[in-house]
Amino acid sequence: MNVLERGYGGYLSRAAADVQLEVTLVDGPQADPSAELVVQREGKTWHLLRGDLRAEWNRATGRGRVWQNLNSYSTDVVLRILHTLILAGQDGVLLHAASAKVGDRAFAFSGVSGAGKTTISRLAPNYVTLFTDEISYLKMENGEFRAWGTPFSGELAKPGPNSWARLARVFLLRQGPENSIEPMERHEAVCSVLRNVLFFADDPELAGRVLETVCRLVETVPVQRLTFRPEAAIWDLVTSMENG
């Protein structure tokens, strides 16, 4: 419970919850991230199944149940997956990306494991507010894409603040000998971003929504290839970019 409170404490609110989950603790296997995950829809109810957890959630009522043993990782997995389902229907995605706020602009740094999400997060100077070093929450609202802080942290184990900023730029990360920012063709950007979107459901309707969201992202926010050396100066280059 302490782990959950540390991760999610900043997101507690007295407002009515759109999603309500009842968690039942059961004896069962420990969390295994490599175990096969099944996400299926039956009518309006989504079913999640992995070795260490079982969950069901009704998208019409917003209510659901989770069965898991006493560990925070299973809860975290359920919340991440539910967010992918909810966001897919709301012009948003969870993206494998670090993201951060500088002034009123947000930047996302996307890539697979080892691309440099944690590294660039560690290099962030004091004037940067880190939203996450692992899973970014991107959503279109009022005609613009916004990045939000998330409790879904990676190696840094540091939840982001419950705040947002306009998404000014998305960078596809790779580490290299020199710092550089290169443009990407739109179709290349869509393919690259989609590869890093968290999406588990075998569902044509939601897949269509995710594709639409990523295409709109690429049409409205500059998506570029960022090659960087692991040194703090990379942030000078990033923040010197004009508004997207």
Partner: protein
């Protein structure tokens, strides 16, 4: 030689982006970016029009390319996409295809 018929797969999501078409397989989230000619083939894949007719009427009519080259390229394209379930191919009309 037998005709080839093509139809769009059912478990796919598609979206136009500029002059190209982005196609995503629902099964494994694989994404394909179709260029202008491939997009013509994709849009014409109604399951009932033979591939050769599609190529003659929509590709050769719009681009300076010989029918032999165009049909060969089209067959390569269809082979690649059918391997991922994005496109269905058959030697007879495909019932229930999206038009």
């Amino acid at each position: 030689m037998a005709e080839t018929y093509i139809a769009r797969g059912k478990a796919v999501a598609a979206r136009a982006l500029g002059g190209e078409m982005m196609i995503m397989s629902v099964a494994d989230s694989t994404v394909f970016a179709l260029d202008e000619v491939a997009t013509i083939l994709w849009k014409s894949a109604d399951g009932v029009t033979p591939l050769e007719t599609i190529v003659r009427d929509h590709v050769c009519a719009a681009y300076e390319v010989s029918p032999e080259t165009a049909i060969r390229d089209a067959e390569d394209f269809c082979r690649e996409l059918s391997g991922s379930g994005i496109l269905l191919t058959s030697d007879r009309p495909i019932a229930g295809a999206a038009r």
